[in-house]
Symmetry: C2
Amino acid sequence: MSYGTANGHGLRARGERPARVGGLEPIAAPHTRTDQVLRALTDAIVEGRLVPGTLHSVASLAEQLGVSRTPVREALIQLSRRGMVGFERNRGVRILETTIHDLEQIFEIRLWIEPPATHQAVRRMGAREVEVVRHHFEAMLAAARRDRLAEMWRHDRALHRAIIQASGNLRAAQYLDGLRDLVLMRGATTVGRARSPLEIVEDHRPLVEAIEAGDAAAAAEEMRRHVRTTADLVLALERGERAGTPGGTA
Amino acid sequence: MSYGTANGHGLRARGERPARVGGLEPIAAPHTRTDQVLRALTDAIVEGRLVPGTLHSVASLAEQLGVSRTPVREALIQLSRRGMVGFERNRGVRILETTIHDLEQIFEIRLWIEPPATHQAVRRMGAREVEVVRHHFEAMLAAARRDRLAEMWRHDRALHRAIIQASGNLRAAQYLDGLRDLVLMRGATTVGRARSPLEIVEDHRPLVEAIEAGDAAAAAEEMRRHVRTTADLVLALERGERAGTPGGTA
DNA sequence: ACGTAGCGTGTAGCATGCTACTCTGCTCTT
DNA sequence: AAGAGCAGAGTAGCATGCTACACGCTACGT
């Protein structure tokens, strides 16, 4: 049992070259096991399959994922950096709960970054980028109509990411992506129940239209309004729902 | 400096983990090997002892630090996330050079966040926080006069951090800290030579005075001006100096 | 002389061994 | 009966073993 013991669980073997012959593809994504585990764990946490507050061991997570402890630990370290999990020495890894205080800070940062980033993005966007934004908006709409919440959130994230990415600041886009994960981690399900999905989608419409019109100032303002609306909604909901929680710290 | 584990941010477990009995601190810093290595490597890179563009092996770094490969690799993964190093499969770990493009993005983000954060900070500041800002300003001045560059930069960072922290958004403060590392990694020495240290310090004066006056709007504007000035200075310098260097990001 | 195939060296990535520590629950003492 | 001591299980953290791959160098073929 040297190497292939736990390999049959869908994770790709180590150095697979896609070997494109005629084309000019440099190399496919060098997806390491750590990357795959990071993705799997992030999804599991965001989707609530790993419940906040619960304690797990690296070994058990590794077994469930069908890999050894090392890549799991390496992925968990990154999640720990992002504040999604916390190591407890000799005890395990705890899935952390995003506190109200965290949500406030996160939305504050989004309010600071996203409007000016949107302003710049609109000025730089070509027809192709605008088309991508519209596509995700329509996809959100379709998903909401069919009550496919997860799909809706996926396109929501993609839409926001497309806008920020168009600003040319990839670093900001990546950071905001992480922040959105933290919000979804706590807010996705509750928000989906409090407001109709269609209302959520429609809140994006003025933003998308301003972008299509090429009106940078208006788009920035609509982004500001949209983020603020979302923040108010999520925060009001969370504050109301967790009334009896020991929240003396926050 | 950049922080170590997940202990710094406001995320907290759901159950009453802190378990405070008397008035005693829960426990001192866990101080893992990985944290120490992270700190050592960060310092080495920022101070230029690990030269950008050079290739190293995890094993050699581990040997120099006197620890095994594991904590070194785990620390490097975090640095990789921050864009300071890059893994090259079966080749080694490359110390990445902060490209001009990176600097542009970083300063752009600082321009987006720091002015509004300053605005909010001024409104929340008490006499004590204002005093801290003034203290770091005076310390910067004294250090500049004695040509103690490293000390000056330390207080520069502390000053900025104190302001942002006063906004109440610790998460933003932490993120900006990381961004400043990346700038220092490339710009510290060059800037110190191009402009007189005193000029650098004096550029903070209107900001500090606006803060002391409690004028949030003016402080925000001065912060914006200051960051922009710094950005222009660093970028102009770097663009001029490194004309034919092979940039090596990603 | 020039291109190329093949080997050797060194590496990241992954798996696994090992240790000190924490927590739980039981037993023994008072 | 109640509390203290103790042992057993389980864990993160760290160290180390192992494998497939990338790259440089050499030697061979043309």
